[in-house]
């Protein structure tokens, strides 16, 4: 059945205004919860971006000269293969093209650095997971002197600290987001319950004259959806415009400490959209629950 939108919008609007204090409470709590959720996602993106080379347990990177010959590279391949599994658990090769993609990602907040580099200047590398983490410095020294090797990096400590800091922050923020979200849902349910109570006479008349269940329910559902959406839009604005501040809570770039962590507008936009969808869903679910529980049709 087609529901005439002017009627539904008018009813939804009057419900929202009639209970303005509860509406504001629901919207603010929703915004706080979703901001915490958005913040976690923003921080995760920043940390992932900064530590992209050191994921999946990689502790040591052997950077080859950008001009290293193919024999030098295949020699290194064979040598590393011969050390598996005694000293090295596994290694994989990253070519120039892949390295250039990563470089652009790590320094996406520093366009000047990206400008002065190019694909040909990128060193190919071997990413290695040592069999025993404590042996990493011995291994690094051993490879440092090989022909064609530019440098061997094992900034394990810095990365581990960065990831640990992030993990703590993430857990705290997720607990906050979850707790406040429960509060937000309860407030949405309560707001809808009050709206249903305030309109009980209208609802009785609507049932009497043959309004369909959906016609009766939709204004209340839209009220919850609106509360979720408005809260989510506030959270979206905060996470989008304060994304670099949020990212800096986890620390600085572990490779170039003078550089702050950076999140691209594109990534923040995707996070924001996700947050808005979550807000709308939570609002709709909360009001859906309230309508089912308190509005017998």
């Amino acid at each position: 059945m087609a529901i005439p939108s002017p009627y539904v919008l008018r009813e939804t609007g009057s419900n929202l205004v009639r209970n303005i204090v509860m509406t504001v409470a629901a919207v603010v709590t929703m915004a706080v919860s979703l901001t915490a959720l958005g913040g976690v996602l923003i921080m995760r993106q920043a940390v992932n971006q900064a530590t992209v080379q050191y994921q999946h347990g990689v502790e040591m990177i052997i950077f080859m000269e950008a001009t290293a010959s193919s024999q030098e590279i295949s020699g290194m391949h064979q040598e590393l293969a011969s050390m598996v599994p005694g000293q090295i658990q596994r290694c994989y090769y990253v070519d120039k093209a892949h390295a250039w993609t990563e470089f652009k990602q790590i320094f996406s907040g520093e366009p000047d650095m990206v400008k002065v580099m190019d694909l040909q200047k990128m060193p190919p590398s071997f990413r290695c997971v040592p069999a025993k983490a404590q042996n990493v410095s011995v291994l690094a020294n051993q490879f440092q002197k090989q022909p064609g090797v530019l440098d061997v990096k094992y900034p394990g400590q810095a990365i581990r600290e960065e990831l640990a800091r992030f993990a703590t922050l993430r857990n705290v923020a997720l607990v906050v987001a979850g707790g406040v979200m429960l509060g937000a849902i309860a407030l949405v349910v309560n707001t809808i319950q009050l709206a249903i109570f305030a309109r009980r006479r209208e609802v009785a008349v609507m049932k009497l004259v043959g309004a369909t269940n959906w016609f009766i329910r939709v204004p209340f559902m839209l009220e919850g959806l609106t509360e979720g959406l408005v809260g989510a839009i506030i959270a979206f604005a905060v996470t989008f415009f304060a994304r670099n501040t949020l990212a800096s809570f986890t620390g600085s770039n572990p490779f170039v400490p003078s550089l702050p962590l950076y999140v691209s507008p594109h990534a923040a936009l995707l996070t924001g959209i996700f947050v808005v969808v979550v807000g709308a869903l939570v609002g709709a679910l909360g009001s859906g629950f309230a309508v089912r529980r308190f509005l017998s049709v």
């Binding site: 006479r201 008349v205 049932k207 004259v209 309004a211 016609f215």
Partner: protein
């Protein structure tokens, strides 16, 4: 138009409200349901609109078996039935016009339809000049006229009235009864529950008397208390 076929209804933990009731009401009839308080009059009406399910038997309304209707079809059944109550059930913050228009808006009628029908029906009930008043600015009789207008604006096949004159003085009651009779003359089946003797006696319509949930009398051109000689 309305057929009860061996219908029974018992509320939880209570005595039976209706027991084995069989009644047939034809299209265009005007029927009084009479009996003392607790005799089952209101239950009889609530079963017609499926506000309550029956426990046994079949109820047919406007060609549909009410018990077999899925919940989503019940609103469409109710669009064929107008209801009027003793306590009017008007929306206090809406004007007379808005109260009547509300009944059409919420079943999705177009704005154009609402604008054409509502003034017409308010003229019919004699409130054409009080469309902008709120219910608390009207007398009891006028409020009940608004309720009748709201029940009739969708031109239902059936009008159910549960003690519609219970709160009104005799003169106002007579006015409301004339209005219901006029609606009946338009072809709408009217079923009115009442325990007011004078109202029933004055109209000389079919009377169905209930006592402890059973039909004890079903009489054409009846009066309230005794068999018409």
């Amino acid at each position: 138009m309305i057929r009860f076929d061996h219908v029974s209804k018992t509320y939880k933990g209570s005595v039976p409200a209706l027991q084995d009731v069989t009644v047939d009401i034809q299209r265009g009839e005007f029927v009084f349901i009479v009996g003392p308080s607790g005799s089952g009059k209101t239950t009889f009406l609530r079963l017609i609109t499926k506000e309550e399910p029956s426990d046994g038997g079949e109820i047919w309304v406007a060609g549909k078996e009410v018990g077999a209707l899925p919940p989503w079809k019940v609103p469409y059944l109710r669009r064929n039935i107008g209801c009027v109550f003793q306590d009017y059930r008007l929306l206090p913050e809406r004007t007379v016009y808005e109260n009547v228009a509300f009944a059409l808006e919420v079943i999705g009628r177009s704005r154009h339809f609402v604008k054409s029908q509502v003034p017409q029906i308010l003229e019919l009930v004699g409130l054409g000049k009080k469309m902008d008043r709120r219910p608390n600015e009207l007398s009891g009789g006028e409020q009940q006229r608004v309720a009748v207008a709201r029940a009739f604006v969708n031109r239902p096949l059936i009008l159910l009235a549960d003690e519609p004159t219970g709160n009104l003085d005799p003169a106002t009651t007579a006015g409301i009864m004339r209005l219901l009779e006029r609606i009946n003359q338009y072809g709408t089946t009217v079923v009115m529950a009442t325990h007011q003797h004078d109202v029933v006696d004055a109209m000389r319509k079919r009377v169905i008397e209930l006592d402890h949930g059973t039909v004890v009398r079903d009489q054409a051109r009846g009066i309230y208390g005794m068999v018409d000689a």
